[in-house]
Symmetry: C2
Subunit: 194 residues, 2 copies
DNA sequence: AGGCTATGTCAACGGCTGTAGACATAATTA
DNA sequence: TAATTATGTCTACAGCCGTTGACATAGCCT
């Protein structure tokens, strides 16, 4: 409790924060432990010692902040607009954490060492909690389709920098996304238009 | 013209094919030149010699097969159903090439060395040709939104292995995707529901 | 003060990567 | 047959990576 000149828990938290920022901008392989250590101002060996392995550090980053879909008290009705706003979040948005975790997951989706972790994180932290907000037996399928839209738009904007999605009128894009998400989440699962 | 016992152009093509298959399943960094060389049954130095650098090999893989959106004679009306079918392609589909190129692009979207290449490839090979099939001034924006759906669904299915998207009734998913894509491509850009 | 523990640094290892140059062999050509 | 070119192999080099063990220093406790 009495704070040492340098508190281990504090630097460990700093490591987690810096690692989080790195994993948000680069994929698992492209983030080096030396990069994180340099951000913290510390030797590489220390991060290795505190977290055992890079894989475990990534695991703790993923599990660090829990999702608060349910804490926010979102209902099925508000979900489309909420997700659309999350995708187009301005900086300093209060739901930054949720999109950040999704982006971290997506960044390392193709990393063999991390693929197992990101898959379960996505399922347990995103699909299942959100599906619990929806009625119906195929809630998970509809949520998966909705998050395909969220994921795709985020990838296009953040990773690929597709210009028409970045430079367009944000309000129009947000409305369009909300409409698509509403159709994905609430619309009939099978059109049967014939 | 007279074929040597071992034709250089032939092995070069084999290298391209093997590289293509590798880049389809792993990201840029996770594909080693030695992996490709082993697939071909050849030494690493040879692929280095034929293609100069790994980055150039990746470039040639991306530019290898041109997209044939226009050759297929797809019209704006058929585009939603066509894209939905492409996402859910069965093996041996004839439009395998187009989805493959998209998946290669997405695999390496977060690879610093390849990000520049994949961005321009996505813009020039996907967004722009498809946008040319659509009327209206904001065609590129609508195409970008539509390909957010295509991209997201492909990432969910191929990279993340999200189960409800893989094990569900394919016909229902295809119809739902087609409906979403139609709304994204042809629906009003701005709802203005008030 | 003296011992002890927490906190962190330093040096190095083995492994893998892309790349480059020297070398070997087979096929063509003069 | 002799020379030359095409095709491919072998060796090796820096560089980065995650990981490990030995060492240093500062703070706490008795």
């Amino acid at each position: 409790m009495s704070p040492r000149a340098k508190c281990a828990a504090s630097t460990r938290d700093t490591m987690l924060a810096c690692a989080r920022r790195r994993f948000l901008e680069e994929s698992y392989e492209n983030v080096g432990l030396r990069d994180i250590a340099r951000d913290v101002g510390v030797d590489v060996a220390l991060v290795g010692r505190y977290f055992g392995s890079k894989e475990n550090l990534f695991h703790e980053v993923l599990r660090g902040t829990r999702c608060d879909w349910l804490d926010a008290g979102i209902g099925a009705e508000e979900l489309p607009a909420f997700l659309a706003a999350m995708v187009l979040r301005k900086e300093e948005a209060e739901d930054r954490e949720d999109l950040d975790r999704l982006l971290i997951i997506l960044r390392s989706a193709s990393s063999p060492k991390a693929s197992e972790l990101v898959r379960t994180a996505f399922r347990e932290d995103v699909i299942e909690p959100v599906a619990r907000l929806l009625p119906g037996p195929d809630a998970e399928l509809r949520v998966a389709i909705a998050f395909s839209i969220v994921t795709g738009t985020s990838v296009m904007r953040t990773f690929m920098g597709v210009e028409p999605l970045l430079g367009c009128e944000e309000r129009a894009l947000e409305d369009k996304l909300a409409r698509l998400l509403k159709d994905a989440l609430i619309g009939d699962p099978v059109p049967t238009s014939g």
